[in-house]
Symmetry: C2
Subunit: 229 residues, 2 copies
């Protein structure tokens, strides 16, 4: 098999990016807002996941805000606002394929977070570019949906490397797809041995409890750590 690399891995300005991300993360920590960056392909189910997750957090008394980032449209923000009690803002990236720390900070300034315990960013649907940018989140969650296929960790390695939690979504559709869960998880862990993985359906709620429990644990730990600041 003939293979060629068209571009050498581009020289990334990740050092600068990371500095901006670290600065924003520090500010959010000081303000005791737990910030979660949700990333996935288009149509993987980010919004449906957020709606069900926000409802579970709201039931537990957490005050939740959501920043919906898209190239265009406000359909996701409208869905979240209609389906949950969370405060929502739609961010338009103006054609950009990802959010970075500076764009996120400007969104947060405008949104206001003084009344929030937890802030979600639904990133642009894209399995490549958002992985390269530290937006200042305390937790990076990626979704991979069953219809996308179990080979994605091979083809989009960076997203799997940088994410803390992998949610394999749309497990209710597994009967109509040829998806090898064990193979997928092995490939993901090869990229990221520390990765925490949950299988769930954001639509039916199947498998949701363990994800919400894991998220709640992290929020509680964050609040305990920041209680005496």
């Amino acid at each position: 098999m003939d293979r060629i690399t068209i571009l050498e891995t581009k020289e990334r300005i990740l050092a600068e990016q990371n500095a901006d991300g670290n600065k924003l993360r520090g500010e959010l920590t000081d303000r005791r807002v737990f910030f979660v960056n949700v990333m996935a392909s288009p149509g993987a189910g980010k919004t449906t996941l957020l709606v069900r997750t926000i409802r579970a957090l709201t039931e537990q008394g957490y005050r939740v805000g959501v920043m919906e980032a898209d190239v265009d449209s406000a359909v996701d923000a409208e869905t979240v606002r209609r389906e949950t009690q969370a405060r929502v803002i739609q961010l338009h990236t103006g054609g950009s394929c990802h959010m970075d720390a500076d764009m996120t900070a400007r969104g947060i300034d405008r949104f206001g977070i003084e009344d929030l315990d937890v802030l979600f960013l639904e990133n642009v649907g894209n399995l490549v570019c958002p992985a390269e940018f530290d937006v200042g989140a305390h937790l990076k969650v990626m979704l991979l949906s069953v219809p996308e296929g179990d080979d994605k960790p091979l083809k989009y390695p960076l997203m799997f490397e940088v994410s803390d939690i992998l949610l394999i979504n749309k497990i209710d559709t597994a009967p109509v797809f040829d998806f090898d869960f064990a193979a997928c998880e092995e490939r993901a862990r090869k990229r990221n041995p520390e990765m925490e993985i949950h299988r769930l359906s954001a639509l039916t709620g199947d498998g949701f409890d363990s994800w919400v429990a894991a998220l709640t644990d992290r929020i509680r730990a964050f609040q305990a750590e920041t209680a005496h600041q």
Copy 2:
């Protein structure tokens, strides 16, 4: 609903890009190789579509080549080589989220196309960035798969604007998804009134004949136009 635009639409260097794309397209026209750029989200079914399409073209006597572009891995190139008689090369973008005309030209130089009638580029799985770059193709085909949802023309407008043909793939899975074909097609045509749309399943072959007929018509027209050059 509060909406803000984080970045104004970025000033694009599309003029320069288009010049490079036009130059490459002209060279391929001179060499009588019909070049097709295939774009979609990760997991929309690009490779499965290509395998079935190539088989149909090969049966008709066309000589087909495929350039598989990915951030990493060679799984798609291996699949195409195993399943078809097409000549294949794997291009690694070195982290880049798209192919541009220069990268494509370098891939073509290395691949060699003197023995080909039709050349496919399977672009990086991404519904945002590849839309911005003219790679010199004669035909831009985008796939949208049923599991991704019917709202994608609202959220990724540029991809729908620039593509000549929309293939709505994975129609065999429609019973388990809430996908409104009419609404999706109306949204797509709002972005691009000239868009040609086919519904199909690359897996089962359902709806495939009309797509292959449309593609073959375009190849024949191209060959007729270039016959006397």
